[in-house]
Symmetry: C2
Subunit: 368 residues, 2 copies
């Protein structure tokens, strides 16, 4: 019987070892990461919709191993604290508009939108194939952040106003809410006073006469702020925000704890977001323009000659900023190199092309 | 000791049950699907690059549970047999250009490209938000296929020729290789003879004078066929193929065997492909146009008046085909409804918009 007992003992031991091995293996594969995401966007915008899609996709693709809880602007931290919150790791992820961080480094303004230049598809082409992705990660990397582009908004609205603005000369003496320093520079050149108003306060500021006009975002977003009620006039095109980047910031230390497959899942899920949101932003524009039309909004445009003048002012701003900030120069050179290289394709594809070839380019020392 | 033996017996039984359960569970979660993918594209085209990316992404996202072996055109079956191969389940997946199946149903021609209409981004907007995806699945569903859009090529080349073509009148009497029935109809109207030449034979047919001119695909693809050597002239724009869809066909019976998470992985991976390939196609165009320029290709364009004439002929073809085929009418109505609805956005966004608003639309009974 002794021999039988030993065999039984060995057998039970083997079974135990097998069980232990299986549990260890599945424990490693099934570590659940519970992360928090803070966003710069309020819950009522279309941006919140694509954030939810991203979170759901990551959950499903990872079989529940990466669980992200999303927090809209102000829920956990205010919009302007999102960058530092993720940079310091108080939340693992954040959704941003790069331009909001221009106070830290003027290059972020350029990464958010390129006035008079980047269409929605130019941004995507440049990000994926033109070195854009590397530059985003270089700039955000200085703040302990990994960056994935997550959305690119369609052409923004022009300027909405209470009194009609029909020419550049009409801007003179007005107080205008604009975002972005290049747009602010253009306003000053045109004799207007640029004002920074919190998005949630724009409609009220217009209604109470604190500002005369405002340019914020895409038509659908403007509509959600109630700008259809308080402004009767809208002059385009959206030269100051021909496209708008949204991104997913990830704290570098948190990122380093992820296994390779979860990193891959995040990367592919953001590519899905780009496709989904770019088209959603276009789709929303159709609805919003129809609604503005029903509300009686009168739409006009600056003439080609006036746009050429605006372009000259924007390039002036870009050239001056490039001289002050090497990061700005580096990114601006890459952006306008893309614009120059791509110009042959845009011209060839006309009238099926997207965006525009500038007649001139800003003077940047390394631009070929 | 009897009691102890019983306890021991129960314990061993419990361990066995646990082990069995774990193995069963992990076997279910870890069923490996080994699938075959057949493509209509030769390995030397950019399409092969994005197919490889799709296969790799699906492998990595699924942790190796969905393993796909890709086969370029002709490796397993010839291009024109890809549809039936997947429809019948001899391969689980296929990569296609819908227009190749126009012989089965003329609606596939329209799903591949919409002459004079859909830009690359119009296709994506319509597919995701305008009911396009549902229509693709309705039409392919008749052949036991599930469909995911996988790539959208950028604006195609116009017509490349040995002798100069500078006006519509110059087409008269020429033998021209074109793809798509609408383009063939335009050629006939212009007094030319449309010819269908296998892509691999186009350069030779031109060199030997069997055809006078050819229109195939995007500049990079044309370049890979050697058309830079045999044609000196190129007249644009690419009205006959302003965008070109590529899709992933999946045999419905094979699809039904997949667990929900693998279906989700395929869906998200194709969204990645769309973003990646749309921009790659643009990027490749820059290179190809520069190469054509170095080879001395002379590029011209049809005038706006001539394009209006071409458009009238294309609409004539679409109206006639819609009367013959209810599937064609259904898809054409959805496409041109998108074009009409979107026109307000395109006009508003100008000059940052993509594609064009037709001056007129084809007459389709249900088009509002």
């Amino acid at each position: 019987m002794k021999k039988v007992n030993i065999i039984r003992f060995i057998f039970v031991l083997a079974v135990f070892s097998a069980v232990t091995m299986i549990f260890t293996a599945s424990a490693a594969a099934q570590t659940v990461y519970k992360w928090r995401l803070v966003s710069v966007w309020p819950a009522y915008t279309a941006f919140a919709q694509v954030e939810k899609r991203l979170i759901k996709n990551i959950f499903e693709l990872s079989g529940g191993r990466l669980q992200i809880t999303g927090h809209a602007a102000g829920e956990l931290v205010p919009t302007m604290a999102v960058f530092d919150t993720v940079s310091k790791g108080a939340a693992e992820m954040g959704i941003d508009y790069p331009g909001y961080w221009q106070g830290k480094n003027s290059v972020f303004d350029l990464l958010g939108t390129v006035p008079m230049a980047f269409s929605q598809y130019d941004v995507i082409n440049w990000y994926i194939h033109g070195g854009g992705r590397e530059l985003f990660n270089e700039m955000y990397g200085k703040y302990n952040l990994i960056y994935y582009m997550h959305s690119v908004a369609s052409v923004g609205s022009g300027i909405r106003s209470i009194k009609p603005i029909r020419t550049l000369a009409d801007l003179k003496g007005l107080k205008i809410r604009v975002s972005g320093r290049a747009a602010g520079y253009v306003m000053v050149k045109a004799g207007a006073t640029p004002v920074m108003t919190d998005p949630a306060q724009i409609a009220q500021a217009l209604a109470q006469g604190q500002i005369d006009a405002a340019s914020f975002n895409a038509p659908k977003v403007d509509l959600s702020l109630g700008l259809g009620e308080v402004t009767k006039y809208n002059i385009g095109p959206g030269w100051n925000i021909p496209s708008g980047v949204g991104g997913l910031m990830i704290n570098k230390d948190a990122w380093d704890t992820l296994p390779p497959d979860l990193k891959k899942i995040i990367e592919v899920a953001t590519m899905d977001s780009i496709t989904f949101f770019s088209s959603l932003s276009e789709w929303d524009t159709i609805d919003a323009l129809n609604e503005f039309q029903e509300k009686g909004t009168v739409v006009t445009k600056f003439s080609d000659k006036e746009l050429a003048q605006i372009e000259a002012w924007v390039w002036e701003f870009i050239e001056a900023e490039a001289k002050k900030n090497p990061d700005f120069e580096k990114v601006a050179t890459s952006i306008f190199q893309y614009m120059k290289n791509y110009s042959i394709a845009r011209k060839y594809q006309e009238p099926y092309s997207h965006g525009r070839n500038p007649a001139k380019y800003p003077k940047l020392p390394k631009l070929k």
